[in-house]
């Protein structure tokens, strides 16, 4: 009895338990509403079904949120990622649209390299503003958030640039091993970031900088350099996400591409258990957070919730998720509920709450 109880606590105490549970409940609710929700079939040699849609559509958000996780764990925030998505997509599509042979792989690679180059420069601009000059991250990145969307529109000349390039389209819609290529790109980015942060000391360094930049500097860590790097990585992730978004519809829309994705990314990071105050981060949590957000959007469409009520619906779910995620809320709730149990059970409870 005591053993199962403690095993239950270890499981629910795991930081990924609650986000995963929320995701599971959402999928279950959808399946009850429409039994075919989770069904997957093979069409033209690719897997086809709503779960695949969710994975493919959440790939750009996962990428943006990965970069955001690192930035937030240094105690910063990057509001410019949405505009960066628009810029990178606009540059790539604009370049491709001007070439005689849009289907040439060389053209697409050049376009991607150019767009990535500009994005890295813009990421470095954010990094310099925050790490070298010391402007508050929310203000420093707000500059590019506002100006960047204008820049994207300047590149596209206020038009929607439509391209007809198979190699570029593959980034958003291609398939590998019957699954969308976008999923593998997001997965590869996640593994790369995870390897760099968790297999080396970089992750710990980032967390220590986020915890206390001055103390870390005094301990011999070049805090400025770490913070700078976080913004550059965030920009790189946003650039790839921008490629996916524009490739998904084979067109660059400077006005709408990546609009508000920064807010979704911050939400994904928070749902995943990373502290907005900085100092610790959970990449796997962020990925589940991004999946939750995309599942929520898809749920609205799949259940055909009227557009007038869908925002409220989303808000209620997000509030519920955040509350369930909050250890303080859970503790209060469980204390009230478990008023009756014998004193022995209560006595060891405070210990359980500490790690959460």
């Amino acid at each position: 009895m005591n053993d199962t109880m403690s095993r239950y606590r270890t499981m629910t105490g795991h930081r990924l338990f609650w986000p995963a549970a929320v995701l599971f409940v959402m999928l279950a609710a959808n399946t009850i509403y429409r039994p075919g929700f989770l069904s997957i079939e093979l069409k033209d040699g690719h897997l086809y079904g709503t779960p695949i849609d969710i994975l493919r559509l959440s790939a750009p958000l996962i990428l943006v949120a990965l970069g955001m996780t690192l930035v937030i764990s240094t105690g910063g925030i990057d509001l410019s990622v949405g505009s960066l998505c628009a810029i990178s997509g606009a540059i790539a599509c604009m370049y491709i649209s001007k070439q005689p042979d849009q289907n040439s792989v060389g053209v697409v690679v050049t376009a991607l390299a150019m767009a990535m180059g500009v994005s890295l420069v813009l990421g470095a601009w954010n990094g310099v503003l925050v790490a070298v000059i010391g402007i508050q991250p929310i203000i420093a990145t707000l500059i590019l958030m506002v100006a960047g969307r204008g820049l994207a529109q300047l590149i596209t000349e206020g038009q929607i640039i439509t391209i007809n390039s198979e190699p570029y389209r593959a980034i958003g819609l291609g398939h590998a091993l019957t699954l969308p290529l976008a999923i593998f790109i997001a997965l590869a980015a996640a593994l790369l970031v995870a390897a760099f942060t968790r297999r080396t000391a970089l992750g710990m360094i980032i967390e220590s900088v986020g915890g206390n930049a001055t103390a870390s500097r005094l301990a011999g860590i070049r805090s400025g350099r770490v913070i700078f790097l976080a913004y550059v990585i965030s920009a790189a992730c946003a650039a790839v996400a921008g490629f996916m978004m524009t490739a998904n519809v084979s067109s660059a829309d400077g006005n709408a591409a990546g609009l508000w994705v920064e807010l979704d990314a911050i939400l994904a990071v928070v749902i995943g258990g990373t502290s907005l105050a900085g100092g610790r981060f959970f990449l796997s949590g962020t990925i589940i957070g991004a999946l939750i957000i995309q599942t929520l959007t898809t749920t609205v469409y799949a259940m055909d919730i009227s557009p007038q009520t869908s925002l409220l619906f989303k808000a209620v779910v997000v509030i519920a998720v955040c509350l369930i995620q909050a250890p303080a809320f859970r503790a209060r709730f469980s204390r009230r509920r478990r008023h009756a149990p014998p004193p022995a059970a209560i006595a060891d409870k405070p210990k359980e709450q500490v790690p959460a």
Binding site: K43, A147, I160, M245, V249, A256
Partner: protein, 334 residues
Amino acid sequence: MRKMRSHSASWRAAAALASVLLVGSVAACGNSDTGGGGTKDDGKITMGFSQVGAESGWRTANTISIKEAATAAGIELKFDDAQQKQENQIKAIRNYIQQKVDVIAFSPVVESGWDTVLKEAKDAKIPVILTDRSVDSADKSLYKTFLGSDFVKEGRLAGEWLVEQKKTASGPVNIVELQGSTGAAPANDRKKGFGEAIAANPNLKVIASQTGDFTRAGGKQVMEQFLKANKQIDVLFAHNDDMGLGALEAITAAGKVPGKDITIITIDAVKDGMQALADGKFNFIAECSPLLGPQLMDLAKKVKAGQEVPARIETEETTFTQAQAKEALPNRKY
């Protein structure tokens, strides 16, 4: 140490200032032609125009049409891009009042909050013409006329075409609808007009209706779910071309042929949409024309000459079938 700190503080201030200036200068890029003194009295009509912004291809075409029509009509145009901000428009209109232009025209960013500045224009005896979008002022004497599309009519034209096409249909016809941004006038009105028209045939039923935010990505994402949730979809009605274009990809991925398995009706008739129509992927487009420049200049002359004009003028618009699209496409400006 202290010296160093104050040094870095001033550095920070300078950098912050520089970035603010940068944003300011980027934002100011669109604001041209608002400066300058009063207008000369040489009988030439001067018009001050405040545009919403440059958020879409439609809007860009609208701007070009107005600029070209002004040159053609010999009207001096003072043009301002408000970058989607009401305060910019109010500022521009006040500028025009100060410069004593002959006519002020603008596309309001939002519907409300115009009474004060419109009153100022009225007191200065400068007639105001609204284009494309309206204001909700209770006092209709604050502006001369409203020149723009009738969104309800566009929806109705789309619906009427469908009713005509499906009049022989014996069974139910399942329609899915991609709405524009929730709460936007074109979305509300097009939905209303379409709904009214298809009520003529009880077989026509809208089985699902969601917002795709007027974007391709939105249209695609919603259509993917529509296709999975509904076994039989016969017709797609999208509130603009872009959402329809996004939906095309979703329909193809589902193994269906757009334009054949699913009849697609959209509104706007921008170039990419017309191309899809000419290619047989769309079936019908109700036009929402941005080319209201010539009509606007005509109105400006009439208003200046003191002639009475109707309080509501509709933009000259048409509809396109696949054959008409093929014909019209080579001369399409936007």
